[in-house]
Symmetry: C2
Subunit: 344 residues, 2 copies
DNA sequence: CTGTTAGCGCATTCAC
DNA sequence: GTGAATGCGCTAACAG
């Protein structure tokens, strides 16, 4: 069943069918109605491949994430997909798993399907891997790290804002000895978070002893190890700020294992505000970097680019603020850990 | 840049380029090499839309889930996507959010893109919504609930196996008063779980008092409410089995709020084994319904259907077992709740 | 305002 | 074993 079939049955030409379906206003309402009637009766759906071939637009956006199972990404995928549907786009989803080979295959797949744009919402991305797409003038949108090139948009994250709120919040609870569990050094976003933390501490005249910054790896285990280290210090912290929520959850797990009560004995703050943060006990106070907002900005950036008549539109910039979300993992500084309350 | 461009530069016909790229064995190795050289130099990638148009195969599989942000689904999407890439397929991802309108739009999108098959991995699905796909002889694979029709495969879940293990495990810990928090009544899978629970209890000669079965809704809040109800009973349970993990997590949250220690005062068992179950404290003992396995079976079912020469292949059946995963939320039955240990 | 026609990029006949 | 020609389903240009 194709457009000719419809044309024959509606006793019009294929051109008219095409116009009617695409709601070209100049078509005679009578004919249009006749066409739609047949279309509905037969359950006809235009073939997108054929359309794409002739129009040169696939109406597909690529979406690159690190790992779908990383709790940071499902919200992004969901929002992006929702917007795509609303605008008659499909999404070609790929995950890199921090693997160059996967990234290359992603790029190949996107080019083969002739995507109209690509959002790269990973935490850090090797430069140059996307040159193939840039050469083909495919609109790209990055978070934080994109190159300054035409057709390339960037979403800049304001880490400072939320982190400042977090530090102020802890200071108001009379915490002075505040530790930071950093993310992996190869992630630009992790470095930016750490820098923002130090700056926020400096603004309040709070000192950051070197041993108060320990390296995590953005996983639960890394968070557990980090708190282990911190609590072995002569003067352990009363509050821990983490580079991401999974780390914070690890910190809380280790606190539990050590017989420390959160927030009574230790305050914990995360970063990202993944859904999961609400589900743990106690719910995690965290710096929100809205995933839905991020997805929305990325999608709209792409839409802006494809809408552009003159494709000379230079590099655009978008911004996303971070904000502290208060839950129940922070409290007044205690003088020190109290007696164990573990369950055994 | 298209196939003609390659043909010209390699001084062969477009037909030869096509054959070389598709690795047709009868093509002269000399010519093939020449073609590949040009292809690599120019960074040529064949246009999938054109290929799809002429071949009649889109190499796209539809994947329908309930909600990407439901922790049950990210693993499924990830595994499905991985297999797709390995087999040169793309996936068209849609979520229904239990909404008929969204489901209809899903079907339309899938037909427009001419998907080669669709996996419906939701918890329950209105019959008839996919008739449009069935009529077009698109291979379908369901979990549990699919109609018995040609081109339609079904993955049957063996709820009994894991649930029996769970009940036996609790019985071995001398629990007798075991409650079950059921899922919504409109979900066939929830009913099946509840039935399997009752049967498993019966097998051990354990009685299930009516008040020991309370209705949840597969959310955290539902779990919290359910435990609240149960603990208000004259003879509250010492163990709670839940229809899914989110419910169990809610039960644990409520237990915490009530000053009950898990597992000392209350044993909790979930169902599904979502990733999250490992991240909460204490890690949740649960009946695993492997999401990666489910995705793999679904994908392979689809591959089997498209590989089929004679499309008369009737309805196929696949099976997925469930298994108890022991973690730290279950323990010996206590005589009753001990003193409060809440943090205030 | 409508119909005829050409061609989007590719795979696949069919001759050679 | 290779090339010229045809058509997949649709939109856009043009002529009427």
């Amino acid at each position: 069943m194709d457009i000719r079939e419809i044309a024959k049955r509606a006793k019009v030409s294929t051109a008219t069918v095409s116009r009617a379906i695409n709601r070209v206003p100049t078509v005679d309402p009578q004919l249009a109605k006749r066409v739609w009637k047949v279309v509905d009766e037969l359950g006809y759906y235009p073939n997108t491949q054929a359309r794409a071939l002739v129009s040169g637009k696939s109406r597909i956006f690529g979406l690159v994430v690190s790992e779908i199972t990383n709790p940071f990404f499902p919200e992004i995928v969901q929002t992006f997909e929702e917007l795509a549907v609303q605008n008659d786009y499909e999404i070609l989803l790929t995950s890199t798993v921090h693997d160059t080979k996967r990234m290359k295959s992603s790029v190949r797949r996107m080019i083969e399907r002739r995507v109209d744009g690509v959002a790269i919402l990973t935490f850090g991305m090797e430069e140059g891997l996307l040159d193939d797409l840039r050469l083909r003038k495919v609109p790209l949108v990055f978070v934080d790290v994109g190159p300054d090139a035409p057709q390339v948009s960037n979403i800049r994250i304001d880490y400072q804002h939320g982190l400042r709120q977090a530090v102020q919040h802890l200071a108001a609870f009379r915490h002075k000895n505040i530790a930071f569990v950093a993310g992996p050094a190869y992630l630009k976003s992790a470095i930016a978070r750490r820098d923002a933390f130090e700056k926020a501490m400096g603004e309040l005249g709070l000192e950051v002893a070197p041993e108060m910054i320990v390296l995590g790896d953005h996983t639960l285990d890394g968070g557990m190890r980090a708190l282990g280290e911190l609590m072995r210090l002569p003067k352990p912290p009363t509050a821990v700020l983490c580079s991401n929520d999974m780390t914070a959850i690890g910190v809380m797990r280790e606190a539990y294992d050590l017989g420390l009560n959160v927030p009574r004995d230790l305050s914990v703050v995360g970063f990202d505000d993944i859904r999961l943060s609400e589900f743990i006990t106690p719910p995690l106070t965290t710096v929100q970097m809205s995933q839905t907002e991020l997805a929305r900005i990325a999608f709209e950036a792409l839409m802006n680019e494809v809408a552009e008549e003159t494709p000379i539109g230079g590099s655009r910039e978008y911004h996303l603020k971070t904000n502290l979300i208060l839950r129940r993992s922070t409290g007044l500084a205690s003088s020190g850990p109290r007696a164990k309350i573990s369950a055994d």
